[in-house]
Symmetry: C2
Subunit: 426 residues, 2 copies
């Protein structure tokens, strides 16, 4: 026990991916890839370290000043471990704006860092799926991105009864705020107010509304607004988006909800967030929307975009709880070639090489030891077939092939071993 | 032009992966996965941020103190962006030493950081393949790792005439250093001396040898030793390793070379490095060896391991120069559904959804615009088929399917469109 105490621990909020956790991460990555590519999106990636100033413009003060891992590198430059991908996207698009074929459809899956308190659904180092379309500003483009998200949910087995995507529109809300005479310089505060509504008791929330300077009329108007689930009918944009969502066959995943605001400053049009309907995890599975000004902000020509991001932590918990992560298969090789003794070891290695050349993934026991121990290892690794070359088999150019599921064993020529194994792997 | 100047640049030594570069990175990752899994290795990953002290023990002073990105996080902890993976591996194995099934075979592919001068074959942010076997200390286990490396080289089309893996053994060299009466406390200096031989003029190298305290006899002995390519025959270990490499069918990729030492302190037995034989890139493609003490050093029970690491930068350059990166296919969807006009847009979206449900990756143009422009876009994205729903097709439940390779076009029922497209994608 004393020995164990000396093991240097991982940094708080980071994760260690043992093969079983890696399998789950890859399951999500694979489904993310499939959903993205089904709609024709190209995979890309940005740097993981970025200049701090890249985030200064639009990421929001809290994200940059309080939640980013930032430091001065050995050359004296202020850098950040990327807390989000959209600013890198804007920079890279802006740099090749004259060469790219628009509309650009890009997706990415990689690591991000935020210095937040680790808790359920939140870690300091996490993976995030980002997917964006730039250079088309139609309401139907918005619908496509929402449909990609719905397609992912469906592909992992999360039905519309388990998950819903809530949609709103910033321009629609702004027109409503105009009607309530809420001044422009209060809009950020009001957005935050709306964002907090689900997390606060209603009396406290109302007190907070008055505190940020709304009058009672405005508060009443806001409450009625946030309860009006037919409001989208006043928006030409949202009407077209919902029509396109119906055409795309994902309408059952989507609901209009005036309470969805999205904290980030850069959204300008339609916004959306997906949630687990059980409320088991309060944080969004994914969220995104349309941004009109990001490219101009990093020095490019104005170009509208729409996209969303999904972290792997919340999605992972929901999939785990719903029993939707497939069973872990410990070894990518389902065949073990055992080693009879030191003399015959090269025979086993040669047979393993022959089986690999025949297209099989094959593990060979890497040292001579009791066969019983080797078979026990094969069991623990859930392998399906074991192959042994003992003295008799070696003398006759043969191999003993055993099904670890049925216990059946046959001795075949080495040339016939691959075929027999394939039969038993089925 | 003024506008462009304002674009915030990426941090020096980081890389931006536009879809074409991402395609090349994924090509390498895919081949790495195939070679690893062919031998039954499980994918895993460690955290990207680690406590600085994890590297203090064995990574070598230069790597930690001069070449790592290190900083104090907001909680006051000294952390490093991982410069290598082996210490994380040792920690994670040590933490579950009682539960894991040994021998453990693990591989990983992910980002690493080193604050070095960016130059050909070197960037500050790079990807690295790591692969290790722990819990077996046979010379045949060493051979397996070398064979995994050779299998990767073969799988990407790098023949033995283009690339070679040079093998040596630390214990063998130590016995030779013993015979030359080189004292133990000079061994690190002598290892560095050997490592530098290829990079220095011979007169300067000899002067350097005397400078670090070798006498003329020892220098002569060392020179004769480094020219003795039959030395391996004196090593029972290497003899068995080479026999196993022959059995594994990769002997043509492997040569004994007494000049291979490997800078890192933790190697204790066989070591190896792969190089481009043309000498176009002087840095190793991959390198590794056996380490006996790493687990005990991080607080675990003693356990021997063998493994290697391959960065993606050198490998990428060599593959590029040899013309071995496959042609970039811009879009994962080879089918474009065009949009005739705003009214018919939902029809195009619905058809795209039907084709996706039939298993095709399909891009739909996201807004109404001139058909000519949409077809031009399809050409630039190298798409193979375009599908249009105009007013006639819409009225009759049909779609116009056009092969962009031959120019041929047919009008089919929507239900028959997927089959026609599949035929033209072949």
């Amino acid at each position: 026990m004393d020995k164990m105490k000396n093991i240097i621990q991982a940094v708080k909020g980071t994760r260690e991916f043992y093969p079983e956790q890696m399998f789950a991460r890859n399951f999500i990555y694979g489904k993310v890839r499939a959903a993205s590519e089904m709609f024709g999106y190209q995979e890309w990636d940005g740097p993981f370290i970025e200049p701090l100033e890249l985030y200064a413009a639009k990421s929001g003060e809290e994200l940059v000043k309080k939640q980013s891992f930032t430091f001065e590198d050995r050359g004296g430059e202020q850098v950040a471990l990327r807390p989000e991908l959209t600013p890198s996207l804007a920079r890279m698009i802006a740099a090749k704006q004259g060469e790219l074929n628009f509309p650009v459809r890009w997706w990415s899956f990689g690591p991000f860092w935020r210095y937040e308190s680790p808790q359920r659904g939140r870690s300091r180092e996490f993976f995030q799926w980002n997917i964006d379309m730039l250079g088309a500003d139609s309401p139907e483009a918005d619908a496509e991105l929402i449909a990609v998200g719905a397609t992912f949910l469906r592909s992992v087995g999360l039905s519309p009864s388990l998950t819903q995507i809530y949609v709103n529109n910033r321009r629609l809300m702004d027109s409503q705020f105009d009607a309530l005479d809420i001044p422009t310089d209060k809009r950020v505060d009001v957005s935050n107010l709306v964002d907090r509504r689900a997390k606060m008791e209603s009396a406290k929330w109302e007190a907070y509304a008055l505190e940020i300077g709304l009058n009672q009329n405005q508060l009443d108007g806001l409450k009625s607004l946030l309860g009006n689930f037919d409001l989208w009918k006043q928006s030409e944009e949202l009407t077209r988006t919902f029509t396109a969502l119906e055409a795309l066959g994902v309408k059952d995943y989507v609901k209009f909800d005036p309470n969805i605001m999205r904290g980030l400053l850069y959204y300008t049009g339609t916004v959306f967030e997906a949630f687990d309907t059980s409320g088991s995890v309060k944080r969004a599975i994914f969220g995104g929307g349309r941004y009109d000004n990001l490219l101009a902000d990093v020095g490019g020509q104005p170009l509208s975009g729409v996209g969303f991001a999904m972290g792997d932590v919340v999605a992972g918990i929901i999939l785990q709880e719903a029993g939707l992560i497939p069973e872990f298969q410990p070894s990518p090789a389902q065949v073990l070639v055992t080693v009879f003794d030191t003399t015959l070891l090269p025979q086993s290695f040669a047979l393993a090489a022959e089986l690999r050349a025949a297209g099989l993934n094959v593990m060979v026991y890497p040292e001579p030891t009791k066969l019983q121990k080797q078979f026990k290892f094969a069991d623990k690794m859930k392998m399906k077939v074991a192959v042994t070359v003992g003295p008799d088999e070696a003398a006759n150019g043969q191999a003993a092939v055993k099904s670890l599921r049925t216990g059946e064993q046959v001795v075949v020529t080495r040339a016939a071993a691959a075929e027999k194994i394939r039969e038993w792997l089925k």
